[in-house]
Symmetry: C2
């Protein structure tokens, strides 16, 4: 083998993927944030946080789900008060999905919990390593093998 780096990274990524999709992790990150926030609805919520107000169809393209699936999940989130539907002022057919303050809070809390968890595990690292890792990971993701 001339260069084992590819295999090393592939193995680590596989492990990372498996760990991060373990059921327990999501439950920990969203604990106490309401029954409506689960593995299914959270991607819709956080996708909406990324895109800003948009239609169910656009959000579906963003998160890789069918339009109708987004609608159904949005129903639950709306009932829980985490998002609301607004009429698009420019198009009277369209309905915009908009995060409520509560919904933004859920996303922010979840993200901060994850970030804190990551920082905890990096606490024992040399500062230079932590910075280097953050930088290299960012580059890897942006122009990486999953066709950016």
């Amino acid at each position: 083998m001339t260069n084992p780096t590819g295999h090393e990274i592939a193995e680590a990524l596989g492990l990372l993927l498996r760990r991060s999709t373990r059921a327990g992790l999501h439950a920990q990150l969203t604990e106490g944030l309401g029954e409506a926030v689960d593995e299914l609805t959270y991607p819709v919520l956080s996708g909406l946080a990324r895109t800003g107000p948009c239609s169910a169809a656009d959000l579906g393209r963003e998160v890789g789900l069918d339009r109708t699936t987004v609608t159904r999940r949005a129903d639950r989130l709306e009932e829980a008060g985490l998002l609301r539907r607004e009429a698009d002022p420019g198009d009277r057919r369209a309905t915009l999905l908009v995060l409520t303050d509560a919904g933004q809070g859920v996303v922010r809390t979840t993200r901060e919990r994850l970030a804190a968890r990551i920082e905890d595990s990096l606490a024992s690292w040399p500062a230079a390593d932590a910075r280097a890792f953050a930088r290299l990971l960012r580059v890897f993701v942006d122009e990486g093998p999953f066709h950016a």
Copy 2:
């Protein structure tokens, strides 16, 4: 903010997760490897490659699936000749799931394709960066925030 590293890494990981679960990626990596290998059955196959011969229940714990779900997916893989069932010599109730040569080939091919893809994207990196990234990623995964 005293240290933005946690948020930076969290955001990059989120992006990585979304990209890597995009439907197209798995299709590319397993192209031409048979109809039986899809997003559902591959985790069983690769899990079995990690554990070696084991029972459906043990494999279920490994990959985070119910015992019966593993059985059903193993049925498809067995029909395709990628794994076989063997009687456990030490326990006549137990059935061991064992990869066939074809099954090992599928796992190996998929892994090599992924590794090659990763190496391609790293080709333009300084060699020191690539080595550092592989090392740091490994440490991050091993003793990282997802309760190693």
